[in-house]
Symmetry: C2
Subunit: 189 residues, 2 copies
C-alpha cells in the first residue's frame, strides 16, 4: 500500500533493537484518515471472503480494527491482555511472549463472543515474531471458529512471524513489508 | 442519548461490586455502528468548540475515540498504561488507581503529542470514581494544553467522579448517566 509506505518513510523512524517507531500516526498518536485508507485496503484484499467478525488484540490493534470494521460492517472483538473484574470467567486463553515488553502475558476472549463456525478476520498493527498472531490463532482454534485470514499493517519481513503463518497456508495480507533496516533507513520488500 | 440507554437496558447487565457489564457492545465486543452514533452525538455536544486533538486512554477508550474523531476530523492520542520499549523516554505521567483492576498504574503520553496551547477533548467509555479522568487532566495540565471538555459514554452517577469534575467547572458530557442499580436493574438519571 503505497500511501502507507510513503508515510512510514516520512514519519517513521528506527529505534534500538530493530524497533520501528510509527507512534506519530499509528500506535500512540493516531491519524484517523490514514486508518480509513488502511481499512478500505483491507476490505479490498478480503472482498471475496465471508467475514462475520474481526478479532484484534489490545491496545493498538483496536483503532485499526474498528475503523476497518466500518467497511466490513461487522463487529470487532478484542483480546484482553490484563485481568479485569469486568471480564467473564469463561474465556478462551493463550500465552504470548512480547519482545517489546519483555514478558509473557495471557490473552483472553470471553467465550460469549467467539462462536463455533464463525468466520473471523484477524487484524493487527504489527507482525514481527508473530507471537501475538499465534496466540489469536490458538484462541480461534479453541473456539472452533473459521479463520478467514490475517490483515497486518506493518510486517517486519526480516523476522519469521510472516513465514511461519504463510507455512500454515493462512491468507496473510500485510500492507507494508519491511525487508530490512539499514543505518536507520527503512527498506521495503 | 436515547439509543444508548435502550441498548444498555437491552444488552447490559449488573455484576457484583457495582460493575455494569456492557462488554457485548462497548468494551470487549464492539458494535461499530453504535459507536458511530456515539461519535455523532459527541460532535453535536461539542460542535461549538475548537478542538485540535482527542485524548483517551487504553484500551477501551481507543475504539470510541477513533470513531468519534472521524466527526471532529482531528487526530487521537491515547495514554498508555504499560511500559513499552516503543514509548519515548520523554513522557508526561500520572498515577491512577483502578478499582476494576485493584491496583495503581502509571499512565503516560509522549511529550511529542501534546503541545502547549493545544485544545484537547478527552473521551472515555466510563466515568465512575473519575480516577482515569483525573489522571488525564493532570497530564494535560503538565503539558499546558487547553481542556475543551470531557465526553463520556456511561457515567455512574452514584459514584463521585462526575461531581468532582463538574465542581472544577469542566464541561462534562455523559451520554448515559446511571442513577442507581436496583436488584440488577439499571435506572438512568
Amino acid at each position: 500500500m503505497e500511501l502507507l509506505k510513503q508515510r512510514i518513510q516520512k514519519d517513521g523512524s528506527v529505534a534500538d533493537g530493530n524497533i520501528i517507531k510509527v507512534d506519530s500516526f499509528l500506535n500512540h498518536q493516531i491519524d484517523v484518515s490514514l486508518l480509513n485508507e488502511i481499512g478500505k485496503e483491507f476490505k479490498r484484499r478480503f472482498a471475496s471472503e465471508k467475514i462475520d467478525k474481526i478479532l484484534t488484540i489490545e491496545a493498538s490493534g483496536i483503532a485499526i480494527a474498528v475503523i476497518a470494521a466500518q467497511y466490513f460492517q461487522v463487529p470487532v472483538v478484542f483480546a484482553k491482555k490484563s485481568e479485569s473484574k469486568n471480564l467473564d470467567v469463561e474465556t478462551y486463553e493463550s500465552n504470548v511472549y512480547s519482545y517489546t515488553k519483555g514478558k509473557i502475558y495471557t490473552i483472553r476472549v470471553s467465550k460469549k463472543y467467539l462462536k463455533e463456525g464463525e468466520n473471523i478476520l484477524i487484524i493487527d498493527d504489527f507482525l514481527a515474531n508473530g507471537k501475538a498472531a499465534q496466540g489469536l490463532l490458538d484462541i480461534l482454534k479453541k473456539a472452533k471458529c473459521n479463520l478467514v485470514g490475517i490483515g497486518i499493517v506493518i510486517e517486519k519481513g526480516f523476522q519469521n512471524g510472516g513465514k511461519e503463518i504463510r507455512k500454515q497456508n493462512i491468507k496473510l495480507e500485510s500492507l507494508a513489508i519491511i525487508e530490512k533496516m539499514n543505518n536507520g533507513k527503512i527498506i521495503f520488500q
